[in-house]
């Protein structure tokens, strides 16, 4: 398997750095906020608040193999073992555990969350806010019913709340919110998103130049710091490398036989799983996770365009939204099979998989494999069992060749 040049040392160069920056900001008295996924981070960047992503931190702890110790710390405080492992891991990190990766997350001046990913996200932020005695701003996001409603009162409701957020941010930072600054951030965010989608488009090539392991690292910019020069510059380099690979027909693996879509999260504690797939001549060419954070921004309507970027989201939506995305990925990326991982502590990722599997097969004849895993708690993952399922699935695919 051939890893990319651009993503080499990604953790050290970018993720580790981001925590060091945040700790430095905190020490210097610059405002730091904890941000939950699907929150329009551009709003924070526009007023120079340093964003820290607990969700990212949980994946870091999992990759560093310490997430279970932190989950157990949360369980000792009474939080059920059946809760999201991201949530338990992050809560565990604020309950006095020692030896935290990157020295832990800096204590926030305030927290911001949205209901747009799942119940878990904002409930966990609510607990953190109470325990850390720091204020929480919550965006109440309408459920995405994948219909025409987006045009009407949903956008209005979102924009009205962003106006409330402006006041909250001004109050917290003592600064004035500058719409022109927001526009500048959005211009970069829009550019980031377009480049990231170009990168995804490169992966349509056969053989595909980039697999899931690199994608799950590189998505960091799209997800956490989209409106920055650094993100644009990095994605430009990554896109160029992929284009070159595509031109020279260099794939992630030499014997690419099975092209897969991976839905939602990986097992952060076991990213080598993707190498294992490669060893079976299978390669992940697209992830729903790489697409959900993207979106164009029209800077002439800075607030409304954030609503339009963040409202459609398969995590906070009826199944059709997710099915449409999977169908598009399966078709346009010439996919042979779909992997649908469930997640023990996540209802959004676990319920309704059978419906998705059925519809994708009906519409495209592409089979899916449902595997029971967990993003950060390896106690909920039975590797031998999952590998048996994967190998049986690959065998089915081999007979369809």
């Amino acid at each position: 398997m051939r890893r990319l040049q651009t993503t080499r040392g990604f953790y050290r160069n970018y993720i580790k750095n981001s925590y060091e920056d945040a700790h430095r900001a905190s020490k210097e008295g610059r405002p730091v906020a904890w941000v939950a996924s699907t929150f329009p981070v551009e709003m924070l960047q526009a007023i120079d608040v340093v964003p820290v992503w607990p969700e990212n931190y949980a994946s870091v702890c999992a990759a560093r193999q310490v997430s279970v110790r932190l989950c157990e710390a949360a369980e000792r405080e009474g939080f059920s073992r059946d809760l999201c492992s991201y949530a338990r891991c992050v809560l565990g990190s604020i309950f006095g555990e020692k030896d935290l990766p990157e020295g832990g997350m800096p204590k926030p001046d305030f927290l911001v969350a949205s209901t747009g990913a799942c119940d878990t996200h904002f409930k966990w932020f609510q607990v953190a806010s109470r325990r850390l005695k720091r204020p929480l701003f919550l965006l109440d996001i309408p459920y995405d019913t994948a219909g025409s409603e987006l045009e009407g009162h949903q956008v209005g409701h979102y924009v009205a709340q962003l106006e409330g957020l402006v006041s909250f941010l001004e109050e917290q930072t003592g600064r004035k919110f500058d719409m022109n600054r927001l526009k500048a951030v959005e211009r970069l965010s829009d550019r980031t998103s377009k480049l990231w989608l170009e990168i995804q488009d490169c992966r349509k090539a056969i053989p595909t130049p980039m697999g899931a392991r690199d994608a799950f690292s590189a998505v960091f910019f799209m997800l956490c710091v989209p409106g920055t020069e650094m993100a644009v510059e990095f994605y430009r380099r990554l896109r160029d490398e992929l284009k070159e690979r595509v031109g020279n027909k260099i794939g992630v693996i030499e014997d690419e036989r099975y092209r897969l879509v991976w839905d939602n999260l990986p097992m952060w504690f076991n990213l080598r799983f993707f190498d294992y797939l490669n060893s079976l001549s299978a390669v992940v060419v697209a992830e729903t996770f790489s697409h959900v954070w993207t979106g164009n921004l029209d800077i002439s309507k800075p607030l409304e365009s954030l609503a339009r970027k963040y409202l459609p989201n398969f995590a906070n939506a009826v199944a059709e939204r997710r099915i449409d995305l999977l169908l598009r990925l399966a078709k346009d990326w010439s996919v042979d099979g779909v992997v649908l991982p469930t997640n023990w502590g996540c209802r959004m990722m676990s319920i309704g998989m059978t419906v998705i599997k059925e519809v994708v097969y009906e519409k495209l004849g592409v089979p899916s494999l449902i595997i029971d895993v967990d993003s950060s708690d390896w106690r909920n993952y039975n590797e031998a069992h999952v590998k048996t399922q994967v190998e049986a699935f690959i065998e089915i695919l081999s007979k369809r060749d």
């Binding site: 059920s80 409930k123 919550l138």
Partner: protein, 373 residues
């Protein structure tokens, strides 16, 4: 007491009760979340019934539901797959919690109701959220008018508000029968009364409540005194769980359940000019479910209940995989304990597996309270 038996009968014959209504050529619509404004259905002469699970395994639903899904939702879905709800003319869904939101997908795909509507439910109760929910209720009302051909006027909404408020007021009076020691009705009886209210035409139910209130002071077999307990949790749709508590020396005198006080505690303000806006406000401002941002309001309600009903301890019954309750539970436990009340936290499965172990823990908890009396 005959009247108490009638509530029990309504519960055990709930499908027949609904079919009777249908035999008069009137529609029946199922709902799942207590944030569903039943008044709007009532105003269209539709009988709303809460979709509940049934006891035992969920063999049919197991084919579609993962193990880490709320077992109550699974049981509801199984009951539908079995055909027990075939008489329904429609289904009103909610995105209120993740389990329920996802249940909508399963329902839509597998249960082929001609009418299915999802009410987009906010997680906050700010003025903006009220406005958003009002718009959602207008859409809900219009969809009902279109599907069932019955126009819903402000006047019929006002009438429905009155019918529902009357029932709520009576239920509250029934709850107050539990302030005495021993209480005049048991926890099991109280639960059966509230559950039957969700499954019976409201006027009929209110008549029974009035009769109960008249007759109960002279009941010949009042419950015995026991350790006065509050139970908190999401759904308890089968009295068996409370029967266990009351069989080992507990007496459930107060609750914070969505099949209990959270269902009826708050009234719709009948002075507001727009009945739909009054309804929107009532549902978002009521004693909240933990899927909302207003956890502190719920904690306050629990503390008020504990005081009002003079309880000696609390049991938090959390249905497994109910995320929002699981996040709130340690905080609620903290609040209750800091006011000096002992708390037992229990996770349970709707199918009541592992019930022997639960019983042992409940028994030990009650013994412990007795010991410090």
């Amino acid at each position: 007491m005959r009247v108490l038996e009638q509530f029990r009968t309504l519960l055990s014959t709930r499908h027949e009760v609904a079919r009777n209504w249908k035999s008069r050529n009137k529609p029946v619509v199922g709902w799942t979340c207590t944030y569903t404004p039943e008044e709007i259905l009532h105003a269209a002469d539709i009988m709303p019934v809460r979709i509940l699970g049934s006891s035992g395994s969920t063999r049919l639903a197991d084919a579609y539901c993962p193990d880490n899904m709320c077992s109550f939702c699974q049981s509801c879905f199984d009951t539908t797959l079995k055909g027990d709800y075939d008489y329904l003319d429609g289904y009103v869904a909610s995105n209120s919690c993740d389990n329920r939101g996802k249940m909508y997908d399963l329902w839509k795909h597998h249960a082929k109701h001609s009418y299915i509507h999802l009410i987009n439910t906010p997680h906050t109760n700010t003025e903006r959220a009220h406005g958003f929910f009002y718009d959602e209720l207008v859409r809900f009302k219009e969809s009902l008018e279109k599907a069932f051909g019955t126009p819903i006027s402000d006047q019929s909404l006002r009438k429905a508000i009155k019918v529902y408020n009357d029932n709520r007021t009576l239920l509250k009076k029934v709850y107050d029968l539990r302030r005495e020691d021993p209480p005049l009705i048991s926890g099991v009886e109280a639960l059966q009364i509230v559950l039957s209210s969700m499954l019976t035409p409201k006027d009929e139910h209110s008549k029974l409540l009035s009769r109960l209130l008249r007759e109960v002071p002279s009941r010949s077999n009042p419950p015995k005194s026991g350790v006065r307990l509050l139970v908190s949790g999401s759904v308890i749709d089968d009295a068996e769980l409370l029967r266990i508590v009351e069989a080992v020396g507990g007496r459930v005198v107060a609750d914070d359940l969505c099949t209990g006080s959270r269902y009826f505690w708050d009234l719709v303000d009948s002075d507001v000019e727009s009945p739909l806006l009054a309804i929107a406000r009532r549902y978002l401002d009521k004693v909240p479910c933990p899927f909302t941002y207003q956890s502190e309001d719920r904690f306050r309600h629990v503390m008020d209940m504990a005081k009002r009903y003079d309880v000696e301890g609390a049991i938090i019954f959390v249905l497994k995989f109910c995320d929002t309750h699981m996040f709130d539970a340690p905080l609620l436990k903290e609040e209750l304990e800091s006011s000096g009340l002992p708390v037992l936290y229990l996770e349970w499965e709707h199918a009541m597996t592992g019930i022997a172990q639960l019983r042992t823990r409940i028994e030990a908890f009650i013994e412990m309270i007795r010991g410090v009396r």
